[in-house]
């Protein structure tokens, strides 16, 4: 049977590929990978480097390569094997977590770690070693990867696991797609008996109360807090601590309905300003009228509240948004978090979604992984060039002073010296990089050295 993919040349499609933050945007050639054998066959005559990418849901430029070739993996999304006894699922790297859930939930299994959106690929989840609300009980996504296959641009294939090619396993988890193309991986799913989450939301005022709640919730699988970063004085660092466990009461394990809402247009640049965000924050805080709310909730709104509106990032208008996520180790976690929250409040720059969480002690297998024990805070700002970037730099420097680091998957602005101070192991990691593969992020943070 004639196969259209076999004879045709590499795609000439030149398109600005947007990351989720929509900043920056670069032109790049898109080369869809449909089959495991497409790499490195499709890239034989390529210049300008290449980068495997999935759904483009990382916020900054780890999924971009200016004037280069993006190897889009989303069509390489086949399942390879599933063992219903052990929960081990082997699948091609372009499968999304949404597709995994559609498959796994009706069979009584769930992702071992869920990020804030299910529209990321398995390969992307590994390459960014993503984390979720259960970091304190489950570690990062990479902790649940039993093995993966890495294909290098020289055509070599490697099975990587904690025991086989362990150094490439460690470099690839959190390796930002730079060590080779992940063709498939084996993920350890966990059993569930219900779609439901036993949820509890608790209001808090200030970081001390947040830390108390965190300590009390040691045995709760999922915890995360929303924090109001616009309020000062009496309401400084008020928020809602949200916790949940998979319901143990047997229930219907039907698949999720498809999302229907799409954010329909680009909001004008002025739509998100200090006033509108402050009103939103106040409304969100008081939406929970009582100090403590207990509910049984479907996992979709619990894990992926924003996935309900496809392309919600358009809300931030054409200029896009800038994310900032740090982790500060316990030693300075409290003072660092308070100092940074003060700095944000003082700047008057709006942030809608400020998410606060305590990371646990489970070490990640990833050499370059972001999480470590301490407090993590994620903020986003609409981009206002004269204001957002100077604030970002101040916050990054403060993070460094407190012994913390920033998350590459959410970054578009850290400087090379900052990155190299956050991740002193970067030169060791660079030994495992595939010579063909690079990203705009990598070029940016490794320059001048």
């Amino acid at each position: 049977m004639p196969d259209p993919t076999a004879t045709e040349e590499a795609s000439q499609v030149q398109a600005p590929f947007e990351s989720w933050g929509r900043y920056p945007t670069y032109g790049a050639k898109l080369l869809p990978l449909h089959w495991q054998s497409d790499f490195p066959a499709l890239t034989a005559d390529l210049h300008n480097g290449a980068l495997p990418v999935g759904m483009g849901r990382s916020y900054g430029d780890v999924c971009l390569l200016k004037d280069g070739n993006l190897l889009v993996t989303t069509a390489m999304n086949r399942l390879i094997n599933f063992d219903a006894e052990t929960g081990l699922l082997t699948a091609e790297a372009g499968v999304t977590l949404a597709q995994i859930l559609d498959f796994a939930v009706p069979r009584g299994f769930f992702l071992p770690v869920s990020p804030g959106t299910k529209y990321v690929t398995l390969g992307g989840a590994i390459a960014n070693d993503i984390h979720g609300k259960n970091h304190h009980t489950a570690g990062t996504f990479g902790c649940h990867i039993a093995q993966l296959e890495l294909v290098r641009s020289d055509g070599s294939h490697m099975i990587c696991s904690p025991t086989e090619n362990p150094e490439f396993y460690s470099a690839t988890i959190g390796g930002l797609g730079l060590t080779g193309v992940i063709t498939w991986a084996t993920l350890r799913l966990k059993p569930i008996v219900s779609r439901k989450i036993d949820y509890e939301g608790i209001q808090f005022h200030g970081i001390d109360e947040f830390l108390d709640l965190t300590n009390q919730a040691h045995d709760v699988e999922y915890t995360v807090s929303w924090v109001d970063v616009t309020s000062t004085g009496r309401n400084f660092a008020r928020g809602v601590f949200m916790q949940g466990d998979h319901s143990t009461k047997k229930d219907d394990l039907k698949p999720s309905p498809k999302p229907k809402l799409v954010f329909p247009f680009e909001a004008p640049g002025f739509a998100l300003n200090a006033l509108s965000v402050s009103l939103f924050n106040t409304a969100f805080f008081h939406k929970q009228i009582h100090k403590r709310v207990v509910a049984v909730q479907d996992y979709e709104p619990f894990f992926y509240p924003l996935d309900k509106v496809l392309r919600w990032n358009r809300m931030y208008g054409k200029r896009g948004l800038l994310q900032f996520q740090y982790v500060i180790p316990w030693e300075h976690a409290k003072e660092g978090t308070i100092a940074i929250l003060h700095e944000v409040a003082k700047s008057g720059l709006a942030s809608f979604l400020a998410v606060l969480k305590a990371f646990g002690d489970a070490p990640s297998p990833g050499m370059m992984s972001f999480p470590k024990p301490g407090i993590t805070l994620a903020l986003d700002f609409p981009i206002k060039p004269d204001k957002s970037f100077p604030l970002f730099q101040r916050l990054a420097d403060m993070t460094l002073e407190f012994g913390g680091r920033l998350y590459p998957a959410k970054d578009a602005a850290m400087t090379a010296p900052q990155f190299q101070a956050f991740y002193p192991q970067w030169q060791h990691f660079a030994q495992y990089r595939d010579p063909l593969l690079t990203s705009s992020f990598w070029e940016r943070v490794t320059q001048n050295s």
């Binding site: 049977m1 196969d3 259209p4 993919t5 795609s11 499609v13 399942l79 390879i80 599933f82 559609d102």
Partner: protein, 255 residues
């Protein structure tokens, strides 16, 4: 995902020709989810194995495969007989193989043109002859074939591909007219541009239809025993207009 309207306990037996094509693979995933029995034919063994493993994992009750170059019409009777044996019957035959071909090359070189016509028209006619006779004999079965909106009117940008699909559509129309009274359903599927490997090199391919929704429409059209399916549905009125543009105007257009 759509589910089958019939609550049959025995899984449907489906033969898929060109199973590694993007549209076929997406369609098979829905059938696998429904627990169908599948016999898959494609040319590339490695790709076929990847698709078969995926469909098995997704819940197909039975998956068997054969590697074959469907251009070789001599092999068709043995191949189809083997498939029907393996499935122990056949409820649906789904023809999804085809090539886009190189229009520019085909304008210069008749061999290229002949290749497109062979793969997209002659080879399917060979398969359909056998399959239709098999179904007529049993007075049952659905034959679903992927043609194209490009077959509705010849255009300078792809009239070789278009004419091969026009021939196929005309053949299917006649076949339907013959076998409908024998209890056999023939579905002509006319997709517009779909995001698959076949169209990956086309500019604007990101704006093409999603292969998953195309597959859902195909499964539902088969279940409803439809005759002709334009997918996405907007192509039906669009092609109605394009078919009705007077030739003296049409010949001046750049389509």
């Amino acid at each position: 995902m759509s589910t089958t309207p019939h609550t049959t306990t025995t899984p449907r037996k489906i033969l898929v020709l060109g199973a590694t094509s993007g549209i076929a693979e997406a369609t098979c995933r829905i059938w696998a989810f429904q627990g169908a029995s599948l016999f898959l034919v494609a040319r590339n063994a490695e790709k076929l194995a990847a698709v078969a493993a995926d469909l098995k994992t997704r819940g197909a009750s039975y998956v068997d495969t054969a590697v074959a170059d469907l251009d070789d019409t001599d092999q068709h009777p043995a191949l189809l007989a083997h498939a029907v044996n393996s499935l122990t019957g056949m409820d649906i035959a789904y023809l999804a193989h085809g090539i886009l071909g190189d229009q520019i090359e085909a304008e210069r070189d008749f061999n290229t043109a002949a290749q497109i016509l062979h793969t997209n028209f002659v080879a399917p006619v060979s398969l359909l002859t056998w399959l239709a006779n098999f179904c007529v004999q049993r007075r049952a079965g659905t034959i679903a074939v992927i043609s194209s909106v490009a077959g509705d009117r010849g255009r300078k940008s792809n009239y070789l591909y278009g004419s091969s699909k026009a021939g196929l559509s005309a053949f299917l129309g006649g076949l339907r007219n013959r076998v409908d009274r024998e209890g056999v359903t023939v579905l002509t599927i006319k997709p517009g541009p779909v995001k698959t490997a076949m169209t990956a090199n086309m500019p604007k391919s990101e704006k093409f239809a999603d292969v998953e929704s195309v597959a859902e429409s195909i499964v539902s059209a088969i279940d409803k025993r439809k005759d002709i399916l334009y997918v996405p549905f907007q192509w039906q009125p669009i092609m109605f207009i394009i078919r009705n543009i007077p030739e003296r105007i049409f010949k001046k257009l750049n389509l």
